[in-house]
């Protein structure tokens, strides 16, 4: 009932693991697949090994978390080994793999994309990390020209796998960026990356708690802002949208689809409901569809009518 076709790929359900959660190792990804995710997304991988920010890298706040992992990863050449280890297992389970990648410019993005593409079903471009520093992440996704050049460079060197751009909500006009990545040839848009960034100061020691001082906000509280971004993107472009931000229940996923998402990703929700949140959300979505006697594809964009 939840089978979803995107970019010509059949997903057994539209509830995916978001980048950055349990994506450090192949076996952690496999575990999420076993818990019912329709696809699992790797953490964001770059060209070279990166240690990330000092701890604390996460702090809970009202309605969610701030995180500033700092894109830790062993570098693309070592990381493809992680995927190789689990590829067959995931295939048997019918779970697709999304490879999230980052880079400081078109050139770095292209190199990583070329290396990862044989190992994944879909490529996700992280041009939206709000705490990466330097010229990584949101510095690209807040600029329509840079976003355009990264997407088109990756599209030039990847033929087989669809390429999605993950966007940051921390812009004055998300439609402008969405149109820009569509124009550059993106096959889909993932929205949103974490919000803010935000900061928590410990009032006893007077110091920011996060090692990086500030971090992007995820969790239930960012859902309304994610919904609005998906709604706006849907009204601006023709591309399929993967909604992400604060989803913990099946009805949240339905709300994203009414806003215009064709599928969703779940990240922080894993904390609120456990690793089997994917199974739970799918079950709740099915229940809703049965009750209302409607099909999944009939609700996508339904709030625009």
């Amino acid at each position: 009932m939840l089978k979803t076709n995107l970019f010509g790929i059949d997903f057994k359900n539209p509830v995916f693991l978001a980048a950055g959660i349990m994506g450090e190792t192949g076996s952690a990804l496999k575990r999420m697949g076993k818990n019912g995710a329709g696809a699992v997304c790797t953490k964001s991988i770059g060209l070279e090994k990166k240690m990330g920010h000092n701890n604390p890298t996460m702090v809970e706040v009202e309605g969610g978390f701030l995180n500033a992992m700092g894109l830790p990863n062993p570098g693309i050449n070592e990381y493809v080994g992680e995927i190789e280890e689990i590829r067959d297992d995931l295939k048997k389970m019918g779970v697709k793999i999304i490879g999230s990648i980052y880079g400081k410019d078109s050139n770095e993005f292209s190199k990583v994309a070329e290396t990862i593409s044989p190992f994944v079903d879909v490529i996700e471009l992280n041009i939206s990390c709000p705490h990466a520093g330097g010229f990584y992440g949101a510095q690209i996704g807040q600029n329509p020209d840079l976003s355009h050049s990264v997407v088109s460079a990756v599209k030039d060197c990847v033929n087989k796998q669809p390429v999605m751009a993950k966007l940051t909500p921390n812009v004055a006009d998300i439609k402008e960026i969405a149109k820009s990545v569509e124009d550059a040839g993106a096959d889909g848009i993932v929205a949103i990356n974490t919000l803010g960034p935000g900061m928590v100061i410990d009032i006893e020691t007077k110091k920011p708690i996060l090692g990086n001082k500030f971090g992007g906000m995820s969790g239930k509280a960012i859902k309304p802002i994610a919904i609005k971004n998906v709604y706006d993107i849907y009204s601006a472009v023709e591309l399929p949208i993967i909604g992400v931000g604060g989803i913990t229940m099946g009805l949240d996923a339905i709300e994203f689809m009414l806003a215009g998402a064709s599928a969703v990703q779940v990240g922080t929700g894993v904390y609120y409901r456990g690793y089997d949140i994917f199974d739970k959300i799918c079950e709740e979505m099915e229940q809703f569809l049965i009750e209302k006697n409607i099909k999944l594809k009939d609700i996508v964009g339904g709030a625009h009518e």
């Binding site: 575990r31 240690m51 701890n55 604390p56 996460m58 809970e60 070592e78 410990d202 110091k207 904390y271």
Partner: protein, 258 residues
């Protein structure tokens, strides 16, 4: 997830040339084997096992632990936890095998369990000075000390002593608990399996969130998180960490380190 609870360091005890115990002004309701994330503002935050409800013991092994060792009484640190699984007392006779700083979670377990359970401890250290909590272990039951340099007790590995005890003393233990270098624990598990005694092992991995969502401490092959599914694993669970246990770990970037 808690924000760090800011604690004042009430007292610092030098346990050995490389290990200090930090006694805090606040108490935590922990179970033996559980850990907390210890935060030094502006430096870093790492996991340490509770030694008592208000203390942690830290061996100086790197940048962060050196920063901890440089703290003075009266300084403030953040503590969030307790997190993770704990040692579970089973049966009537427990054998504890502790190596080096691995003695920290073991001493809290042994002190906690010894009221109703007969405890035998094998304690390993490089030298006599590095035999941590020797006096406290002695109060909890029979203690076998082992040093690498023979400066005290048995001159050799804890695991050699362990086999000797299991063979010659013909003692029937209901449970073995262990914490120490992973290569030692791997051997402990092998011996425990050979003698068909259940074993609980406390693992250590690079941790970030401490609550099972970032995936930093996920171990191959089932992706169990040391912070949430562990740090204490039963021997049965170790079978799902088979390839990684005793063989390799990951650094902060996720790269494999042998």
């Amino acid at each position: 997830m808690e924000k760090p609870t800011i604690c004042k360091i009430k007292k610092i005890v030098e346990e050995s040339p490389t290990v200090k115990t930090f006694i805090l002004n606040k108490e935590f309701d922990f179970k033996p084997g559980q850990f907390a994330m210890i935060w030094i503002p502006e430096i870093d935050e790492k996991p340490f096992g509770f030694v008592s409800k208000n203390s942690f013991s830290v061996a100086k092994v790197g940048r962060f632990t050196e920063a901890l060792h440089n703290l003075k009484e009266g300084d403030l640190i953040g503590v969030r936890g307790p997190y993770g699984t704990s040692f579970k007392p089973m049966g009537y006779k427990i054998l504890a095998v502790a190596g080096g700083i691995g003695s920290a979670p073991i001493i809290s377990a042994v002190e906690n369990f010894s009221e109703n359970i007969e405890i035998t401890t094998i304690l390993g250290g490089r030298t006599k000075e590095e035999l941590l909590f020797k006096d406290r272990f002695e109060k909890c039951g029979k203690l076998y000390s082992c040093t690498d340099d023979g400066s005290y007790g048995y001159n050799g590995f804890t695991t050699t002593k362990m086999e000797e005890i299991l063979k010659t003393e013909n003692k029937k233990f209901d449970l073995i608990i262990t914490c120490g270098p992973e290569i030692m624990m791997k051997k402990v598990v092998e011996i425990a399996n050979k003698y068909n005694i259940p074993v609980q092992v406390s693992l250590e991995r690079f941790m970030k969130c401490g609550i099972g969502i970032c995936g930093q401490c996920a171990v191959d092959g089932e992706g169990l998180c040391v912070c949430k599914d562990g740090p204490v694993f039963f021997g049965d669970e170790l079978k799902y960490i088979k390839e990684e246990f005793g063989n390799y770990r990951r650094d902060g970037s996720g790269a494999i380190v042998k």
